[in-house]
């Protein structure tokens, strides 16, 4: 079990809901991978006519999953905080995946704005899941601002590159052993997710790698299996790496035949 803000969950895979071929496939992927938390967003809703937002919300509610609203696309503290308030009202949750984007090519978080927004929202009762980097000092300041979960990126959003800075992510895990850490963004393959779990991360949040796969439902199942395997491996205690070979077959008693 993993706990975020006193909410206990069984699944360590959290799934984004964007970019699926159809709502039906999104629904099937969520069910097939036994997803308990999905991320959602807010966008302008057209007056009258087509109400795509209402249909999407009905689908999510039918599934009975917990939602983690985001502030995706927000570039300022003001914008992110206002979006968070709107999300809390619409989705009826204090959870917020806080994104304050600082750079458009990499969608790298503006960590200064992130800390400021996290403090404002935490002080007002939000449970903040900050999308951050692996920077230890920023992590410390986010915790000081009231965050009790951290979500460092694996790689730029949608890049599918996996864990860009394993050293930094390992250091983050070691520095904050008791803080739930979730890898968010940049995951492309189940092996990337397994690697995150092997490092001791508590969960993985991803979207594109499943939604844009040729067969999203099958890929969701593959990710769920990889995350279970990675978690089991972490708990089993991986061996340390070495620079040189070490015989695994005992050499004592070997016949002298040379």
């Amino acid at each position: 079990m993993i706990s975020f803000y006193e909410v206990e969950l069984t699944s360590r895979l959290m799934l984004g809901t964007a970019r699926y071929p159809s709502p039906k496939i999104l629904k099937e992927a969520i069910i097939a991978a036994a997803i308990e938390v999905v991320t959602v967003s807010l966008r302008r809703e057209a007056a009258g006519g087509e109400r795509s937002g209402q249909a999407f919300w009905s689908l999510v509610r039918e599934l009975g999953v917990r939602v983690l609203p985001n502030t995706a696309g927000c570039h300022s503290v003001k914008e992110a905080v206002t979006t968070a308030y709107m999300a809390r009202e619409i989705f009826g949750t204090s959870w917020i995946k806080l994104e304050v984007i600082g750079e458009d090519d990499t969608l790298q978080p503006d960590v200064f704005g992130l800390v400021e927004a996290a403090r404002i929202l935490s002080d007002d009762g939000f449970h903040v899941f900050p999308y951050t980097t692996e920077d230890l000092v920023v992590a410390d300041k986010l915790l000081d601002a009231g965050c009790r979960v951290l979500m460092p990126w694996g790689a730029p959003i949608g890049s599918g590159r996996g864990l860009n800075n394993v050293f930094g992510l390992r250091a983050l895990r070691a520095h904050f052993p008791d803080v739930p850490l979730v890898i968010d963004a940049g995951i492309g393959l189940p092996s990337h997710a397994a690697q995150a779990m092997e490092l001791g991360y508590d969960a993985v949040l991803l979207n594109t790698a499943v939604a844009q796969a040729a067969q999203p439902v099958a890929m969701a199942i593959a990710f769920a299996a990889a995350i279970t395997a990675g978690r089991s491996a972490y708990l089993a205690g991986p061996i340390p790496t070495r620079d040189m070979a070490e015989p695994s077959t005992p050499v004592v008693g070997k016949a002298f035949l040379a």
């Binding site: 967003s41 109400r51 919300w57 206002t82 709107m86």
Partner: protein
């Protein structure tokens, strides 16, 4: 009165936010609102009176990651 609704110019008759939303056809839709970049909770919609050139943002649930 002319206001901007989600970035588009609209001419409306109502002035109270709740009535404006009804006039625009949002009815019972699950939406959140901001006026001039400030969040307006559901409970405050009856207290807010819009003025000429105000900017009204209306958002709804959407897919996200």
């Amino acid at each position: 009165m002319n206001i901007l609704v989600n970035g588009k110019a609209r001419n409306i008759n109502a002035t109270e936010l709740l009535e404006v939303l009804n006039e625009l056809g949002y009815g019972n839709a699950t939406i959140a609102t901001a006026v001039n970049r400030c969040f307006i909770p559901v409970t405050a919609r009856v207290d807010i009176t819009l003025s000429e050139n105000d900017r009204l943002e209306i958002v709804a649930p959407m897919q996200g990651s």
